[in-house]
Amino acid sequence: MFCEVDYLPASQDPELLRRLLRAKDRMDANSHEAWPVRRLARVSGVSEAHFARSFKQAFGVPPHRYLLTRRIERVMALLRDTDLSITEIAFQAGWESLGTFGRTVRDVTSESPGAIRARWRVTARELGRVPACFVSAAHRPHLTMAVSEKRRRAGGGIKGVRSAQEVR
């Protein structure tokens, strides 16, 4: 058995990839919604068993983690561009619990939502000439491992600089 990724078989069928892209697009458009594998598989017209594996092979991350990166990106944009309360942002981005929201944002970005907002208030500007969606994408987290794994490593003493690098 091959574990997780590293060994990648030959390229995937472009026709399948195009349908997987449709599922990815749907998550992009409505990242606040719940996206169980069954729903995504239906969008792509493949079996549930086939979907998660194919998606990861195509896009490098499992679908639920991809969804998390888009939610965090949305959170960043809302923190930066709106005056919505942090509670409101959590719910708009798709979290049902404020506690889980705060913890996940800290685990992924190494900063609290409040700190992120405060920092952007200071730096901002300069990006006015880049189309908004690409500015937003620049703040998408690069999650190379599961958040639970990041949390475990951070808790296990690999703190500070190293864990900050892993996020970026």
């Binding site: 472009p14 990839l17 892209l21 969606c133």
Partner: protein, 135 residues
Amino acid sequence: MSQGVGVVGLYVRDQDEALAFYVEKLGFRVHTDVRNGEYRWLTVQHPDQPSFQLGLFAPGPPVLDAGTAQSLRAIVAKGAMPPLVLAVDDCRTAYDRMRARGVEFTQEPMDRYGTVDAGFRDPSGNGWKMIEARR
């Protein structure tokens, strides 16, 4: 204007399908459609932009080997080609018109930064942002 960018090409999975999409659904016009054996040079043009051609090219022989062509088709189908932006006068009107023609939208029109933008893909997977020009 006699200097500047004249043609930028997209890779598409099927040139006939792409031609139908860009002409019938988006309202572009054919500029050049010339075949030489297996090779087909196909460009379209926005009706308001006569100095620029958008090339619709199929990756494959004789220009590219089969393996490279297969990789490119996969990259296009994954939506990994660079961003494209279509400027329009009225994003919501264009959205309604294009949607009625069956364009696959990835994002509905949204007010942002004093303008309106939407997102769509061509049949191959190339992703476009459609942005209303600021008045």
